[in-house]
Amino acid sequence: MLRIFVLCLVLACPLQAAPVTSFSLENGLQVVVIEDHRAPVAVNMVWYRVGAADEAPGKSGLAHFLEHLMFKGTDTVGPGEFSATVAAQGGADNAFTSWDYTAYYQRFAADRLEMMIRMEADRMANLRLAQTDVETEREVILEERGQRTDNDPGALFSEQRRAAQFLNHPYGIPIIGWRHEMAALTREDALAFYRAHYVPDNAVLVVAGDVDPQAVRQMAQAHFGPLAAAGVMPRQRPQEPPQISARRLTLVDARVGQPYLARSYLAPGRGPGAQERAAALVYLAELLGGEGADSRLGEALQFDRQLAVYTGAFYDGLTRDDTEFSFVVVPAAGVGLAQAEAALDEVLAEFLQNGVTPERFGRVKTRLRAADIYARDNVQDLAYLYGQGLAIGLSVEDIAAWPGLLQQVTPEDVMEVARIVLRPEAAVTGYLARPEQEASQ
C-alpha cells in the first residue's frame, strides 16, 4: 500500500516551504522525498534504524565497523567500487554511525539518482566480505579510534563522562567502541549484525534535491521493492533508572592544554507525538548557554565576572531514548575548576529561582525562527533532519511540526522542564585537568 502526502515544513512563516513527500513500500521501506529545484543536485541517503546502542554486550564498535565494511563490495560490485562509481559521476559518498542509526549517503548530479538507488538496494541485500578486507579495515577503525579518541584528552574525557552519565543504557558505550572489544570483532560478527538489521523494514530512504517524487517512487519500487521484509523486532534497550546520587569524575592528562569542566543531566528526547518538552529544553539550552553575550551563563561568568573564557549549554533531542543536557565551562586563567563549578551552580540556582526575562526569551524565539529559514538554504541538512528523526522513531508529521512547536514554547514551559532536569542529585560533573592542577583541587 503506497501512501503519499505532502507536508509544509514551515508553519511560522508565510513562505513557500520545501515540499516533502512520504510513502512506504510494501516491504516496509519508508521513503521521504524533499524537493529543492534551485540546483540540479541531489542527495540520496539510506538510514538504518540500528546503531551502536543496539550492539550485543562485548561487541562495542560493531555497528560502526559494519558501516566501514559496507564499502567492501557485493556479489556484483567489487571492493571500493561503490565509492569509485559515485566519484566517476562527480559525486561524493560517505556514511556515519550514531547510537541510534547508521546512514549512508551520496551527493551527485540529480540525473544519476537511479544508479545510486540501485547500488544502495544492492548492498542492503548482497554484501560480500573477504576476510583480508575485514582484517585490514579493523586496523583502520583502531587507527580511527587513535585519531578521534586516544590522541585527544577531550574526547577521552567525553567518553568517560558518558560512561558515568549512563549507568544502564548503552548510550554510555562509545560508538567507535572500546579498544579491546574492537580488536576482537570478526567478519562473522559483522555479517550477523548485517543480516539482522539491514533489511527494508528497518530502513528509511531519504532523497532530497532536484528530484521528482513520482520518479523516486518508481526507482525505489524497482530496486528496493523486490527485497523481502524481515519482520524486525522493536528495539528494546535497557533504560536508565532515576538518578538519585550525583556523580563526579576527574580525568588527569598531561596533554591537557586548557582545563575545563563539564556537567550533564539526563533529559528526555523528542518522543513521537510528545516533542513539547524537548522544544522547551532547546530554549533552556539557548537561554542558559547559547550565544555567549546573550545567555545567562555567558553574562554571569564571562561579562559580570571574568571567571570563564567560554561557557556553553547543549541539548540535542534527536535521540531514541533519554539523552543528556550538558554544560561546559572553561575557566579563566587563575580560576580553579571548583570555583568555576560553584559559579555554574550559582547561576543555575538563580535561574531556577528568578526565571527568564521576556526580552531574552523573545530573542531566542526570533533566532530559532530565522534558523528555520536559513536551514532551507541547504537541502542536505534538511535530508539529515528527516533521516535522523525517522530513524529514531518520529513520524514525518512530527518532524514537520517541530519548527511550529518551537514557536509555541512559553517561558513557563521552560521553567517547568528546567526544574525537572536540573536537579542537583541528578548531576554528573567532570573535570578535565592537568597533573599539577589536579593536586591543587
Binding site: R38, A84, A87, G90, A109, D111, E143, A293, D377
Partner: protein, 440 residues
Amino acid sequence: MIRFFALVLMLASSLMLASPLRAEIAVQEITSPGGVQAWLVESHDIPFLALEIRFRGGGSLDAPGKRGAINLMTALLEEGAGQRDARAFARARDELAASFRFRASQDAVAVSARVLTENRAAALEVLRQALTEPRFDSDAVERVRAQVLAGLRAGEADPNTIAANRFAELAFGGHPYGSALDGTPDSVAALTRADLQEAKARAMARDRLFVAAAGDITAAELGPLLDALFAGLPEAGAPQPGPADLSLPGGETVIPFETPQSVALFGQRGLAREHPDFFTAFVINDALGAGNFSSRLMQEVRVKRGLTYGVYSYLAPMDHAAMIYGRVASANGRIAEAIGVIRQEWRRMAGEGMTAQELEQVKTYLTGAYPLRFDGNANIARILVGMQMEGLDPAYIATRNDRIRAVTVEDVGRVAREWLDPAGLHFVVVGQPEGLKGAE
C-alpha cells in the same frame, strides 16, 4: 531583467558516462553608486541574503612585534560597536535574527553575513557598525584576549597545532607565514587598544575589499546597501608582505610528545594559482591524495595496509607562497611505514605520472563535481568571493571544466617530474614515532 539560472544540465546518453555538465550561474558584476564592486547572484526562493566580504592580507599584515593583533582585532569586531557595548550588540543582532561571522586567516579578514529580507537594511546597519565603528572597549579586549590565550594554551598541547606551527617556522622563517596568526602568549599579552586600532587600519580598507552576494536581493537594491556598509572604511591599508621564500629541505623533523598516535604533516613547494601548469598540478594532486577513496595515498596507506584512518594532500596556493601539504596519523609503531609509503607514492607519481585511464577517471570526477558546488546561497557567495580573490572573472565558471579536460597524459608526466620532489618532501612528526631518525 536578469534571472537566476542554477545549473543547466546537459544530459548524457548513458548514465554510466559522466555527462558534460556545465555550470551556468548568472553572475552580475555590479558597481554601486559609491564605487564598491561586487558580484551578485539573485535567487528569490528563500527570503534571505548571504553576503561574503574579504579584505586581502589578513594576519600577514600584522605590524612587526604585534603578532596576533589582526586576529584579536577581528574577534573583537562583534564585541561592541557604535553606541552598543558587546552585550547590546549581540542583542541587536539577535533581535534581527542576523548571523555574522568574523575571522582572520593568513591572507584575509573574512566576514560572512546572513540577513533576512524582512529587516535587511537594519541588520546591515548593525554590521556596518561592526566593520567601521568597533569600540575595542577595555573589558571586551580583556575578555577576548583571555579566550585567545586559552586557545594558545590548548594548542601548545595539541599535536596538530604543534606540528603546524613547527612546519610553518621551518618553511617560512621570519615571514608572517612562518608563525601562527593568533600570535604567542607574550605577543598577545602585550597588545594594546592602540595596537588593535592600528591593526584594523592596516587590514580593513577599501583598496583590498572583495564582495559577493547571493540571495533575495536585486542589483539595484544591493548597491546603496554596499555603499552604506563600507563608506566609513579608509581608502588604503598596509602594504602586503613580499614573497615568502621556502627554506625547507627534505627530511623528517620529530617533535617528541607523549601520545599513542603520531601526527605527521608533510609538504613541499607547490604551484601558484597563476602558473600555467596549475591545472595539471590540480589534477595530479587529485589522483595522488585529494579527499576521496580512489586517491593513491588513501588506497596505499589506508585501504591496502590499514595504516591510518585518513591521509590526504592538498594544494595551497597562498598569496605569497605556493605549497602542497598533506597529513597522516598512525600509531607510533606504524607511522614510519606510513611515511615510507607516502614517499614511495611521491616517487611513483614523479617517475611514472598517470595512465590515460587514471587521468580520465580524475577528469570525470573533477568536472562532474564542480557544478555540484553551487548549491545554496551561502555556498555560491563563498565561491564567488574566492574567485575574485584569485583574480578570476565570472566567465571562468563556464570554462573551468574545459581547462581540466585540456590536461594531457604528457602534461601530467612532465609536471609531475618537474614539480614533485620526493627528496624535498618534509615531514614534521609529533608523537613517539618508532624507527624515524628526524632531527630534534
